[in-house]
């Protein structure tokens, strides 16, 4: 059979994780922006703008886990046990935040502030932990005899702490631009104002990560800076600069959807950068997607379903967003 199953699965999982990052990114960003918005009604509008879709957004994370287990069981086993602590932190953050969606409307007055805090801290912890996991992933894992052979805290490094912070800033940008699209009036103006420093911070974080990664990993440096790769990959950083410039302009202007679309594009570029750096390893620094692949019987069986069903998922997800299109008004929405 001429189909390169591991390659197809790497693309599907890469796509699923990207969907997760940009979609749960903006709703985690809502929680990250909570400290900058104190007004109860504004906070309700912020939460209501994502309430109908957050669950679907988070499902992409479950797909990422399940597809990894199906297609690359070795990678699933190694990466998840190596990243035990950050993943447990991420899950606990997502638990607090997920239930707070419901609870902050159900709680009596005395407890509402508690669930607002749970929503905010849950979003921060989940995002920061994802960034830690990302940094740990880039740094790589020690594998021996088909199992993780490193220590409990191997993922912890100045680099992973930085990627944790960087992801918080990135999601904050998605959240702020999402709110520019979904709200109006004072809240929207506030988000436009917040958008500018956040955009600059995202640019700074992107530059630092882009320099730090090849500085620490010689193989990644070789990937980017050798010829002719340099020419092939040069559009990525160039586009980052252009997108940032366009984003700053659109934040000043009148556009409602443009900042969000540009922020998505910016995150997508960052994601592409990681893809270029790590390809073709699924367990950096040494295990490739072909070495960690499940038996073809597993990959093929699941591939049929994935290729048939994912288009339908995208269609009805798009329909759901369409149903809830337009600006969210105070007091509207839920229950």
């Amino acid at each position: 059979m001429g189909i390169d199953l591991p390659l197809l699965w790497a693309i599907i999982i890469g796509f699923g994780l990207m969907m997760y990052v940009i979609m749960d990114g903006f709703d985690l960003g809502i929680g990250i922006l909570f400290p900058f918005v104190k007004d109860r009604e504004d906070r309700d509008v912020m939460v209501n703008s994502v309430a109908p879709v957050w669950d679907g957004n988070e499902t992409w994370l479950v797909l990422g886990g399940a597809a990894l287990l199906a297609a690359f069981p070795l990678a699933y086993a190694v990466i998840l046990s190596a990243l035990y602590l950050p993943l447990m932190m991420m899950l606990s953050g997502l638990i607090w935040r997920g239930v707070a969606f419901e609870f902050r409307f159900k709680a009596d007055e005395a407890h509402k502030p508690f669930w607002d805090k749970a929503f905010m801290w849950g979003s921060y912890i989940a995002t920061f932990s994802q960034g830690l996991a990302l940094g740990g992933f880039i740094n790589g894992f020690e594998v021996r005899d088909g199992a993780y052979a490193g220590g409990f805290l191997d993922w912890l490094s100045p680099f992973s702490l930085f990627t944790g912070v960087a992801l918080v800033i990135g999601y904050a940008l998605l959240g702020a631009t999402w709110l520019i699209m979904k709200t109006e009036g004072e809240l929207q103006q506030r988000m436009r104002a917040l958008g500018r420093p956040i955009t600059l911070a995202v640019l700074a974080a992107t530059v630092i990560v882009s320099l730090w990664t090849p500085f620490v990993h010689a193989d990644i440096a070789a990937r980017w800076f050798s010829l002719p790769n340099l020419f092939f990959f040069a559009p990525v950083p160039v586009l980052v600069v252009l997108a940032t410039w366009a984003l700053l302009r659109s934040l000043n202007g009148e556009g409602h959807a443009a900042p969000f679309l540009l922020a998505l594009f910016l995150l997508f570029l960052g994601y592409t950068g990681f893809g270029i750096s790590l390809w073709p390893n699924i367990i950096p620094p040494a295990v490739s997607i072909w070495e960690a692949a499940a038996p073809p019987q597993s990959m093929g069986f699941t591939l049929v379903g994935a290729l048939l069903i994912i288009p339908f998922i995208l269609a009805y997800t798009a329909w759901s967003y369409y149903v809830f299109r337009g600006k969210v008004k105070p007091g509207e929405g839920y229950h």
């Binding site: 009604e41 109908p52 287990l69 086993a77 009596d108």
Partner: protein
């Protein structure tokens, strides 16, 4: 912690997190179908009672669903974080099944849930009903895949072991493994039964407090019909499931029955109560009925089935635990039969909604379905030990290399966090139930300006204005 080994702690952590999790999907499965029925009846009969009940239960459903999602997320990652050797060994089978669950069920539920909960005034009645149906369908598809996966771990087939990992060779055999149809039927019906008991208890509680209106009566009546039909059905399915288990996992049955050895020339008694002692290889203080064990499990008066002593000590599940968890499940099942029968008797006498012990009993039975589900799962999961994949991989070979310290710490964090989060969530669900269904209960409408002026929503589901829907 308490001298427990890392393996024991990992098992406790998994057992704890999945015990909390299973409660929510069970109610999700039952309520989603109930909501689909209510919305269908509303569209068909145009009786506002059904619409009001739909809105009432959809709010409880929303809280329950959120808890199911977040507690389930933990499960999807725990296979890798805590059971990495199992994942790398058997992920080639459980992974695709889980992936299919996500693709066919989780996205379906999540995609249509938004419209179902928030879209009453944003889409037409037909599309809204369709969304509810898709969510209900999603819950059932989800149960199918995850039970296929669990059942394969209980009665594995359709695979080979090549280079130390499981390789699927026949997916049809993998999915339709011997215990799958029974487990799927048993669990789905259990979810319906548990939900009917919960809904029935809510109705009974309101009736006892004197809140007697057509909405409360309708939900109570519907629930009692459901219990009457489904409880006996569950007994039949349970019996068939037991016979299937005897065929494929005889050690589990022996442990459930506290049955250690066969006496030549005599049938096996049914031990009603006793204390299986694993060290003494004997069930102490037993109260037994002669030959009934043979009758139930072999359908003859002097048939034999293997006793636990016939299995090597390292292959025996803990009889003390599963003997009792099984009896908790069966005992509650008997009470459910009683409730269904009592309800139909009262209905016939025209006193279904009258005050008295019957309504109290129906209220107490509210959590019984969920307790029975937990007891049943403890029976089947502890009863298949020491195997994680039955006869293929032992649980002790599946666990990740985390230290007891790490596992104790995360276990304590989980216990504290779950107690706060899910304790609060369950209390909110009960508060919503206590509010009761109101007429004209409706989602806040975007075009309903009088309500959009409110600065903040008070606790609850129940709207301030009791006017009917503006449409």
């Amino acid at each position: 912690m308490f001298g427990l080994t890392a393996l024991e702690l990992a098992r406790i952590q998994f057992g704890f997190t999945i015990s909390f999790h299973i409660i929510f999907p069970a109610i999700t499965i039952g309520l989603a179908s109930y909501l689909a029925v209510l919305e269908g009846l509303w569209l068909w009969k145009k009786d506002t009672v059904y619409r009001d009940l739909y809105h009432f239960w959809s709010k409880i459903f929303a809280v329950n669903f959120a808890m199911g999602v977040v507690s389930g997320l933990v499960m999807a990652y725990q296979f890798g974080t805590n059971w990495s050797y199992f994942s790398s060994f058997a992920g080639s089978i459980t992974g695709p099944l889980l992936a299919y669950e996500v693709l066919t069920a989780f996205f379906l539920e999540a995609g249509f849930l938004g419209v179902m909960l928030f879209g009453w005034n944003r889409v037409g009645p037909g599309l809204h009903f369709f969304s509810t149906l898709m969510v209900a369908l999603g819950t059932l598809i989800s149960a199918t895949w995850i039970l296929a996966s669990n059942s394969w771990m209980q009665t594995p087939q359709g695979h080979e072991i090549i280079n130390g990992i499981v390789v699927p060779v026949d997916w049809f055999k993998v999915i339709f493994n011997p215990s799958f149809p029974y487990r799927l039927a048993h669990m789905t019906v259990a979810a319906f039964l548990a939900t009917a008991l919960f809904v029935g208890a809510s109705g009974a509680w309101h009736l006892l407090r004197g809140t007697d209106n057509p909405r409360v009566r309708t939900m109570f009546s519907m629930a009692m019909w459901m219990v009457l039909i489904v409880a006996p059905l569950q007994v039949v399915i349970g019996d068939l499931h037991g016979l299937n288990t005897l065929e494929h996992q005889p050690a589990k049955i022996a442990a459930m029955e506290g049955h250690w050895r066969n006496e030549p020339g005599a049938g096996v008694p049914l031990i009603l109560f006793g204390w299986p002692d694993m060290a003494a290889e004997e069930t102490l203080y037993k109260v037994e009925i002669p030959r009934l064990g043979s009758l139930i499990l072999t359908h003859s008066l002097d048939g034999h089935y293997p006793g636990l002593s016939e299995f090597a000590p390292e292959d025996r599940p803990n009889s003390t635990v599963v003997f009792w968890s099984f009896r908790v499940m069966v005992g509650l099942g008997v009470l459910m039969l009683l409730l269904g029968g009592w309800a139909v008797w009262r209905r016939w006498r025209g006193t279904l909604y009258a005050q008295g012990w019957f309504l109290r009993f129906a209220t107490w039975m509210g959590p019984s379905g969920l307790i029975a589900i937990l007891a049943g799962w403890y029976t089947t999961e502890i009863g298949r030990q020491p195997w994680v994949v039955y006869g293929v991989m032992r649980t002790k070979d599946a666990v990740s290399n985390h230290s007891a310290l790490v596992l104790s710490t995360t276990l304590i964090v989980f216990i504290v966090m779950y107690a706060i989060v899910f304790g609060t969530g369950i209390s909110y669900m009960l508060k919503l139930v206590a509010k009761g269904p109101h007429p004209g209960e409706d989602d806040a409408s975007p075009r309903d300006l009088s309500r959009s002026q409110r600065p903040a929503r008070p606790l609850s589901a129940a709207p301030d204005n009791l006017d009917p829907s503006p449409y």
